[in-house]
């Protein structure tokens, strides 16, 4: 088991190195003059030349990449070309907001998705099931950025109940959480439903019923335990998916997170910030996926026993 975890963990390293290399290459050869980004449109040719020398922009590609990698290894992500702030400080200061947003989204998804999925499965083909299915399908299809806008329109503009932007106060968490969590709620609901339906048909459920066990206990103790195993995977993968969703959600609600930082950096062509932000995203995403795999092996005794 430890060997498996270690191996999977070590496999992340070449992937992340490859990612940095590809991103660096794309951004390096993208059209546009980095010196112009740093110095601004109004900079004189002399000033631009100074900047090129100062930031090592005249070095060959491989030297620039090497310098960047050397920085990364020492956890130095460089300074923003626009604000001159340390990229490391900036991304780690914003990181908690992004994680919190994604975590709240997944929590919402689990809190509503699992009960709805169970209800939907135990009352299969009822009006409630149909309603939940349609709702679930709508949930995965509605763009989260549009849902966010519509909520701002309704709750902030029309009703005036909720503040349209910001992330400081708990009341400001409501709309972003719903915007980002609806999709994962829908996915978790569908997964719970189908997994539950499969479990209910198993022989051991029939046995439990045959021995006269109460339906409630059959569902919650016998069926749910097994049905939730694939749901954990989906919930974990959703956490990663929500990190992606955070990119747009943060932009809409003006939340100071990594997603909004990355978007504004991309718009401004601020290479160190783009690289730092995306790298942090990738590390989080990969680590979460890895943890989900480990968790999956850990909670399912059938798989756990294979590693003993």
């Amino acid at each position: 088991m430890h060997k498996f975890i270690l191996k999977r963990f070590l496999m992340l390293i070449p992937v992340l190195l490859g990612l940095v290399f590809i991103l660096f290459t794309i951004l390096h050869f993208a059209p546009g003059d980095p010196a112009m980004v740093i110095g601004g449109e109004a900079a004189t040719e002399e000033r631009l030349q100074e900047i090129r020398e100062e930031f090592g922009l005249l070095d060959p590609f491989i030297v620039q990449f090497g310098n960047y990698m050397w920085g990364i290894i020492r956890l130095d992500f460089g300074v923003s070309w626009i604000t001159n702030n340390s990229v490391g400080e900036e991304i780690f200061a914003r990181f908690p907001n992004t994680i919190q947003l994604a975590a709240m989204g997944v929590t919402l998804g689990l809190l509503l998705g699992i009960p709805l999925g169970i209800l939907s499965a135990t009352k299969q083909y009822s009006a409630l099931d149909t309603g939940a299915t349609v709702f679930g399908l709508l949930g995965v299809s509605i763009p989260n950025f549009w849902l966010g806008l519509m909520m701002i329109m309704f709750f902030s503009v029309t009703l005036g109940w909720l503040p349209p932007t910001g992330f400081g106060e708990p009341i400001q968490w409501i709309m972003p959480t719903v915007a980002i969590g609806t999709g994962s709620m829908a996915i978790i609901m569908r997964m719970t439903r189908s997994s539950m339906l499969e479990c209910i048909r198993q022989d051991y459920i029939r046995t439990a019923r045959a021995k006269g066990q109460k339906e409630r206990i059959v569902i919650f103790r016998h069926a749910l335990k097994n049905a939730l195993i694939p749901v954990t995977t989906v919930a974990g993968l959703n956490f990663g998916f929500l990190l992606g969703g955070a990119v747009l959600t943060e932009t809409i609600f003006a939340i100071p997170g990594i997603g909004s930082l990355a978007v504004s950096a991309i718009q401004a062509r601020d290479r160190p910030v783009i690289l730092g932000g995306v790298l942090l995203f990738a590390v989080t995403f990969s680590v979460v996926n890895l943890l989900v795999d480990i968790l999956y092996a850990f909670i399912d005794p059938r798989i756990r026993s294979q590693y003993r």
Partner: protein, 324 residues
């Protein structure tokens, strides 16, 4: 290559298969609804020039009329007008062209590249597989939308660039499906037999591997249409995709966003409904196809057969069965 017997028999068999697939597909009301919505949107895109006729050098849907800016929906402008007085419905009709085109190109290119990479890595293994699979791991290490934003941001605005940006994220799905399929048939006897009569790798892949994974590929393609359209809209929304004055749905949302707090809801509502509808429809079609193409993959969805089976089970358990 194809002998006469094969050509004589094939059409019939294909027809029967398609018929059976269609029969299963149409039992799923949501999938049929999706198909209808997509057909309507295709018609809307096809007749966009009739609905919003061009006017001299200026396309009709791009004609600005400052005397009628930001009008709410009315009989004359069913979805209202935007901040420079353009009819929102007309722009949505033209936006349908862009969204469908982006989806179609992204899916076809992503599929071609993905299938090729998947076949190569499955068939040859070794260093080729290593390189390809690591490349796919790298794509999968970053949320799709973020990859698209970075690439679109780096390449600059434009339709082709949007397609490239969104298309990169479409590759891994197909590659994984095909690779898995190749690995499962590579060492089977019929492949060996085909090889021994001189079939080359290309023919093996085309004749023996792809037919076996058509079902998941088609499903992936349908869901991929939804994903690609959504990503492209997201790109335009944050301003790295197609730029105004292009009538793209995400760009329209982005333009409407600035007027949302002032109460002009129609500028964001209608483009968003169309994005949601097209994404919903392709997801539904994908879901329906999954069940119709390969009953073994059947997920949780409506079907009469399943309904009857459950009824029978409930009857067997002595419950009063059926739909509430």
């Amino acid at each position: 290559m194809i002998n006469t017997v094969e050509t004589a028999v094939k059409p019939n068999r294909k027809k029967g298969q398609l018929g059976a697939i269609w029969k299963r597909f149409k039992k799923n009301p949501l999938a049929v609804a999706g198909l209808i919505i997509v057909s309507l949107l295709i018609l809307l895109a096809a007749f966009a020039d009739v609905i919003a006729p061009a006017d001299g050098n200026i396309p009709g849907y791009n004609r600005q009329d400052w005397s009628r800016q930001r009008q709410f929906p009315s009989a004359e402008h069913i979805f209202g007008t935007d901040n420079v007085g353009r009819d929102i419905f007309h722009r949505i009709a033209h936006g349908a062209r862009i969204s469908l085109l982006v989806g179609l190109v992204v899916v076809s290119v992503g599929m071609t590249i993905g299938v090729t990479l998947g076949s190569i890595s499955g068939f040859y293994g070794g260093w080729r597989e290593n390189i390809i699979m690591r490349f796919i791991d790298i794509i999968l290490a970053v949320p799709n939308i973020l990859i698209a934003i970075i690439i679109a941001g780096a390449l600059g605005p434009g339709l082709i660039n949007v397609m490239i940006a969104v298309g990169i994220g479409a590759i891994p799905g197909y590659a994984r499906i095909v690779r898995g399929q190749v690995l499962s048939v590579r060492d089977q006897e019929f492949v060996e037999a085909a090889r021994s009569i001189g079939a080359n790798d290309f023919r093996l892949i085309r004749k023996h591997v792809l037919p076996n994974c058509m079902a998941p590929i088609i499903v992936e393609a349908s869901m991929g249409m939804a994903g690609a359209i959504l990503s492209a809209a997201g790109l335009s929304f944050i301003g790295v995709g197609l730029q105004p004055p292009t009538a793209e749905w995400g760009a329209m949302l982005s333009a409407g966003r600035g007027f949302l707090l002032a109460g002009y809801w129609h500028m964001t509502l209608f483009p968003g409904i169309f994005i949601a509808a097209i994404v919903f429809s392709f997801n539904m079609i994908g879901d329906g196809l999954r069940d119709a193409l390969d009953p073994r993959l059947r997920g949780a969805s409506f079907s009469k057969r399943k309904f009857k089976r459950v009824l029978a089970q409930r009857a067997a358990r002595g419950e009063e069965g059926g739909r509430a």
